[in-house]
């Protein structure tokens, strides 16, 4: 479905924001986030965090892998390891935001108007934004994107509250299935996003290298796994690219 810019004449910013929220409700990501955050909410409960902390972590961090790292390592790993692991897991925002800025910028627009939309940027919001924004006139894009982001972040907050509530009341069998949702969802969404040999290889190697590094008990095992497995995958990718260029 594509709507031409001409069909959105001079709408008030509030209306455009509401359009963005409606787009969030229609997005498949609304329901994916709801389910994924039920699992993360249950995880936070098991690790002894409060619901208020969980909600605030979604509002402030707004990155499922980073939140899972934070929740599952904060009690056991060193502070440096937690910070490094979260930093590395969120690097993807840099190229995503850099690609989005030109789409949201307009004549006479202020840099600080971009702070909120960029904070709301997560993989789901970004994918839907890149798909829907081109159909919007430039002056409506920031408000629309803000509505989209707020709508999707709400799905995550509702999901985490449900997960928190269920984990506290369900028998262990169901609590275990809720907790298992997180690794399954991370695995499937990574596998679906991996379009290149580099992505697939990095993930596969990470699964194998992770437990090996962890067994050495040298600390910082998430970071070392990322650096070792990610670099091997990158080198293999480079070698293949070079070969492909030599023999076209």
């Amino acid at each position: 479905m594509s709507i031409g810019p001409s069909e959105h004449p001079n709408r008030a910013p509030g209306k455009v924001f509401a359009d963005g929220m409606v787009a969030a409700l229609r997005s498949v990501f609304f329901y994916v986030l709801l389910g994924n955050y039920v699992g993360i909410g249950a995880l936070a409960y098991e690790f002894g965090f409060s619901l208020g902390w969980m909600v605030l972590s979604t509002l402030l961090v707004w990155a499922a892998p980073a939140q899972v790292i934070l929740i599952s390592t904060l009690g056991t790993a060193t502070l440096v390891e937690v910070a490094l692991a979260v930093t590395l897991s969120s690097v993807r925002f840099l190229p995503m935001v850099a690609a989005l800025v030109p789409m949201l910028r307009r004549e006479g627009g202020r840099q600080r108007d971009l702070l909120l939309p960029m904070h709301l940027t997560a993989i789901s919001v970004w994918v839907e934004g890149m798909r829907l924004l081109p159909a919007r006139p430039r002056e409506q894009r920031v408000a629309f994107y803000n509505g989209l982001g707020v709508g999707l972040i709400m799905a995550a907050i509702i999901g985490s509250a449900i997960g928190f509530y269920l984990a506290a009341r369900l028998p262990p069998l169901f609590a275990a299935t809720l907790l298992f949702f997180t690794p399954l969802a991370l695995l499937m969404s990574s596998a679906r996003n991996s379009r290149t040999l580099l992505d697939g290889l990095a993930f596969g190697l990470g699964l194998v290298v992770g437990p090996i590094v962890a067994a050495q008990k040298i600390g910082l095992d998430l970071m070392w796994t990322g650096l070792i497995a990610g670099t091997i995958a990158y080198v293999v990718h480079r070698v293949r690219e070079a070969k492909a260029k030599v023999t076209p």
């Binding site: 707004w62 904060l74 991370l186 990574s190 990095a202 437990p211 990610g230 990158y234």
Partner: protein, 112 residues
């Protein structure tokens, strides 16, 4: 919590700042960076491997109620889920559903 910091302070210093910094840098760099540049490709590889390590950690060293489920059941569930994902048109939904089904069947058969 084994550390002395308040969880909310930890959230801001170890969760908010380390992820927000990349969004700020992204605004500053704007379109200056190519998504296919070599440094971005390497960083993506590192980040992807790190997420895989998180998956392995939750399956092998699970929290709370999941810890009472036998390791063989956890491994069978994650592998079964991935197999279903590959077989059923790379559907994430099918993969998650199949993984959960294997987990529940395993718990019922071998205890949890």
């Amino acid at each position: 919590m084994t550390f002395g910091m308040e969880p909310y302070l930890a959230l801001i210093l170890l969760g908010f700042l380390p992820s927000e910094i990349w969004r700020w840098l992204g605004i500053v760099l704007g379109r200056g960076l190519d998504e296919q540049s070599e440094i971005i490709l390497w960083v993506r590889g590192v980040a992807t491997a790190l997420i895989a390590a998180v998956v392995a950690r939750i399956v092998l060293i699970p929290p709370g109620a999941l810890a009472s489920v036998p390791l063989s059941v956890r491994l069978a569930a994650i592998c079964g889920g991935f197999l279903a994902f590959l077989l059923i048109r790379r559907s994430a939904f099918a993969g998650v559903l199949a993984g959960e089904a294997v987990l529940i069947a395993g718990i019922l058969a071998f205890g949890g």
